[in-house]
Structures are given as structure tokens and as C-alpha cells.
Subunit: 184 residues, 2 copies
């Protein structure tokens, strides 16, 4: 099965360091050509499912402008230039919650938009947490830290309380990981 | 907890019907003002976890330009103007796989980018499938239909074989739903 070929790429908007928008001319696998295929470069980000007890995780309640409302999410944030995904995850967990974790496992990385790109999300599972400092989020958000029961997460996913895809993938993969760990 | 206020909104790019890029001036909940906050409007899409037997689902192997490679995904596609999410899910499942489902359940809807918007993904679980016609995908993709075992999905998520966030959320929420259904 073949890939597409990029024949030309025009930068329409450079909004560094946040995003760049491109208009590409591509040749598809069937040979046909599209002269207006839009792609977007965005920064990668990390999201953390942090299990604070056998039946609870750390969540964050905050306004998210993409969702246009206050909703429940996970600790998360953009990778800094040159920073590894797991280093970003450890930094964001500490900044947003004040906790460090003794155990880290990666739950995969996924391109945010299958057609246009939009960067990658790196998902991590963290447990055996130790409080290290007070939360000190160095970003645009006014946040409130909450502990949420694992048993309550499926309903929160379904009823819109968890509104963003980044939080949703962290929570759903985290719940699968907890079930796997509990079997071992 | 307060929301942000949009003080001004300038359209930078109109690439209808695919996307629009905006530069906003926003007042944050703490009163500070940001004069270059970028937001993106994109079309909503539906993704379907279609359980074809007790231990298998329908997957699609295809090139995705956002991931720049061939990878394993789920039946999915953009909502047409005025189309409901579940109607789009039923149409895409039929077009891409040739199957109709006797039972549909929604697994939530999520804004793709928590900061910038980028549209919403609507996730559906489908089962009791009946073959209706040959697949006839009316989109840009050359696709190959595959049945994948539920037990193989966690490893495929972790090792990069499932590369896009839309497919990853459909598969992880679908696996949680199967576990819930099996308990009932």
C-alpha cells in the first residue's frame, strides 16, 4: 500500500511557536493530484493519568478555550523545545499538581489529526505518587486540583464533563491499564 | 470558575469547507489580555468501533496524510452539513465496510484540540452487524478492510500501529464498553 507524495508545500501562516498552516499539492496513491490539501504543524503535548490511590486519579478542573467552557481534564502540557515526552510529562505533573511519581509507563503516542497533522499527543500512566511541593502551573490556566474515583470516570467521559480529546484518551487508556495491572 | 472573554476575532484563513483559522484577542479569567490566541474551526467527524464477533472488530488499513504513513484505523469520516453524528457514523460504516449495525451506542463527543478547537470527534459503538453491500468508500482513501482481535488491540495501540488519535479514542473507549457489556 502506497503513501501520498508531496509535490509542493506553501506556508500560509507562520504563528510560531504555536502553529504553522500549509497548503500542499499532493499526489495520492491512485495517482490523482489534489492542489489544496491543508496541513497544520503544532507542538506535541503530554498527558498524564496519575493514579493517586487504588481507586482514584488526579484531575484538573479548568477553563479550556477549545471547548469554550470549564471542564474536567488531566495534567498535561506542551513539550518544550528539545524536551523528551516523558520529561515533559514529569515536569507538567509536578507543576500542575505538586506530585512526583515513582513509576512511569508510556501508553502510546498518536497524531492529533489523521488528515492534517496538528502534532502528537504522548500519553503516560504514573503511579506511586509522592507530594513534593505546592502546585505552581506556569501557563495560562487557573486550575483546581481534584481527586476523582476510577468508578466515576466512564460516566464523566460519556456525559460531557470531560470535554477534550487529550483528556479522554488519557483517561480511557489509563482505565485499561489499571484493569491490566489489577489482573497481574 | 470563570470563562475567557473573546474581545476580538480576526479570520486569517478561510479554507472552507475544511477549516478556518482565527487570531483572537481574549481576556483570561485572571483579567490579563492575550492579543494573539489562535483558534481553528474544523468539521466534526464520527468514528465507529464496530464489533463483528465476540472477539473481533472491523478495522481499516489506509494511508493517513496526518501520520504520513499507512496505519490501522477505524471506520470514520466527516459529518456532512446538517447531518447528525449518528447518521454520519451509520453512513461511513456502510460506505467503508458494507455493513449495517442493529445496535448503536454513543461513547461520547470530545473537542479535538483543548486549546484551539479543531472540531469535535463523535465516538460510537456498533454491534450485531449485517453485511449489506460491498464497501464503497467515497473519499480520498484507498483502504483495506481487516478484522482484528480485541486481544490484539492494546499492543497495536502501544506500538504505533494505530497512529491517529481518532482511531485510538474509538478503540480504547470501545474496549472499555466491551468489558462493561461482558459484565452485564
Amino acid at each position: 500500500m502506497k503513501s501520498w507524495e508531496i509535490l509542493a508545500r506553501k506556508e500560509l501562516v507562520d504563528a510560531s511557536p504555536w502553529l504553522k498552516l500549509y497548503k500542499e499539492t499532493v499526489r495520492r496513491e491512485d495517482g490523482t493530484i489534489i492542489s489544496d490539501y491543508y496541513t497544520i504543524d503544532q507542538r506535541d503535548f503530554a498527558v498524564i493519568f496519575a493514579q493517586i490511590s487504588d481507586d482514584e486519579i488526579l484531575c484538573i478542573r479548568h477553563y479550556k478555550h477549545g471547548a469554550k467552557r470549564v471542564n474536567l481534564g488531566l495534567p498535561a502540557g506542551y513539550l518544550e523545545p528539545g524536551e523528551s515526552p516523558v520529561a515533559a510529562a514529569k515536569r507538567e505533573l509536578l507543576e500542575e499538581t505538586g506530585f512526583v511519581a515513582q513509576e512511569w509507563q508510556r501508553l502510546g503516542a498518536y497524531v492529533v489529526d489523521g488528515n492534517r497533522g496538528c502534532g502528537n499527543v504522548h500519553v503516560f500512566f504514573a503511579r506511586h505518587l509522592v507530594k513534593k511541593q505546592e502546585p505552581n502551573p506556569d501557563d495560562l490556566e487557573t486550575i483546581s486540583l481534584e481527586t476523582i474515583r476510577l468508578d466515576d470516570l466512564p460516566a464523566l467521559l460519556l456525559n460531557g464533563e470531560i470535554a477534550t480529546l487529550g483528556a479522554a484518551i488519557g483517561i480511557s487508556l489509563g482505565l485499561l491499564k489499571v484493569k491490566q495491572n489489577n489482573k497481574e
